[in-house]
């Protein structure tokens, strides 16, 4: 990674302006021309160092609620159970984690009623207990990765 790429990643994870020539304005602060900044961002995207460039939306304010749930899955059945859980379109993310509760997934549902209904359907499809862990309070969401 070049120093310029590093600077763009470190300093442009937020605050990209909404104006007629935003790359010009953001580039000035980084000592880059408009074309240079566009080129650096395109290069970072092409290399896969960025997953995206643009607005990061707050899923819940778009009308969907996210909630976390976990299960204790017997190792021998792990892949088969993962397949059954992942088949639910409401399951947005699913991670294996090293704990007795070894499968953790995020549900995107529009209402708490729908969340509970999907969890019951997952319990029925897997024969396992789902530990429902909706957030009670969000203290912070956001992350700045330094490179």
């Amino acid at each position: 990674m070049t120093e310029t790429e590093r600077a763009v990643i470190n300093r442009l994870q937020g605050g990209f302006p909404v104006c007629e020539r935003p790359f010009l304005e953001a580039g000035e602060k980084l000592g880059l021309s408009e074309d240079e900044l566009i080129g650096v961002i395109r290069g970072l995207l092409d290399q896969g160092l960025l997953s995206r460039f643009g607005p990061l939306y707050h899923a819940e304010r778009l009308g969907g609620a996210l909630s976390l749930a976990a299960m204790k899955v017997p190792e021998a059945e792990f892949d088969a159970i993962a397949e059954r859980v992942n088949a639910f379109p409401e399951v947005a993310h699913n991670y294996a984690r090293d704990h007795a509760l070894n499968m953790w997934f995020v549900l995107a549902t529009e209402t708490p009623e729908r969340r509970r209904a999907v969890l019951r359907e997952i319990e029925a499809a897997t024969g396992l207990t789902v530990y429902d862990m909706p957030k009670i309070t969000e203290y912070f969401v956001g992350l700045h990765f330094a490179v």
Binding site: P55, A82, R97, E138, F140
Partner: protein, 160 residues
């Protein structure tokens, strides 16, 4: 929260995968959507103000830039102190998400969750120790769960 209207939804659909890499990206969007550029910019600013857009910028692929250790640190702290402590832990720079969630006794005694990203597990452990210092005597139990495999990651997309 005021509902999003159809124009907002079209803007979200057009931008959730990214902004055009053109000198006037909002004008490019306006052309694609057949809207006046000023309206595109006004609506995006309004969504930023309302928190519908958390931020606009580069979104690093954290695995590709070296943050391969991701630890979900979980803590059992007294319920009457969880808000005060969660606010403090949420302000720590290494913490990306911090939530109060329900316990499931006896299997799951933890009520405070703080996601920590690092380059190595040793980094994550060090950050977990810093969180423990902030929590002090309130900690009755703790654990760190590392993700060992991504089983599904579709992301969240508004459906057209």
């Amino acid at each position: 929260m005021p509902a999003l209207d159809d124009i907002d939804r079209r803007l979200i659909l057009a931008t959730q995968a990214g902004l055009p890499l053109t000198p006037r990206p909002y004008h490019t969007l306006a052309e694609q959507l057949d809207l006046p550029p000023d309206e595109v910019m006004r609506r995006l600013k309004h969504m930023l103000d309302r928190g519908v857009i958390r931020r606009i910028g580069v979104v690093p692929n954290h695995y590709r830039i070296g943050y391969t250790a991701n630890g979900m640190t979980v803590w059992d702290v007294p319920d009457e102190r969880v808000d005060e402590l969660g606010e403090r832990v949420g302000r720590m720079p290494s913490v990306s998400h911090c939530y109060h969630r329900p316990r499931h006794l006896p299997d799951w005694p933890y009520n405070l969750f703080a996601m920590v990203h690092g380059r190595t597990r040793a980094d994550v452990e060090r950050e977990a120790d810093r969180i423990a210092e902030v929590l002090g005597a309130a900690v009755r139990g703790r654990s760190v769960l590392y993700s060992t495999r991504i089983l599904k990651k579709t992301g969240l997309r508004l459906q057209s």
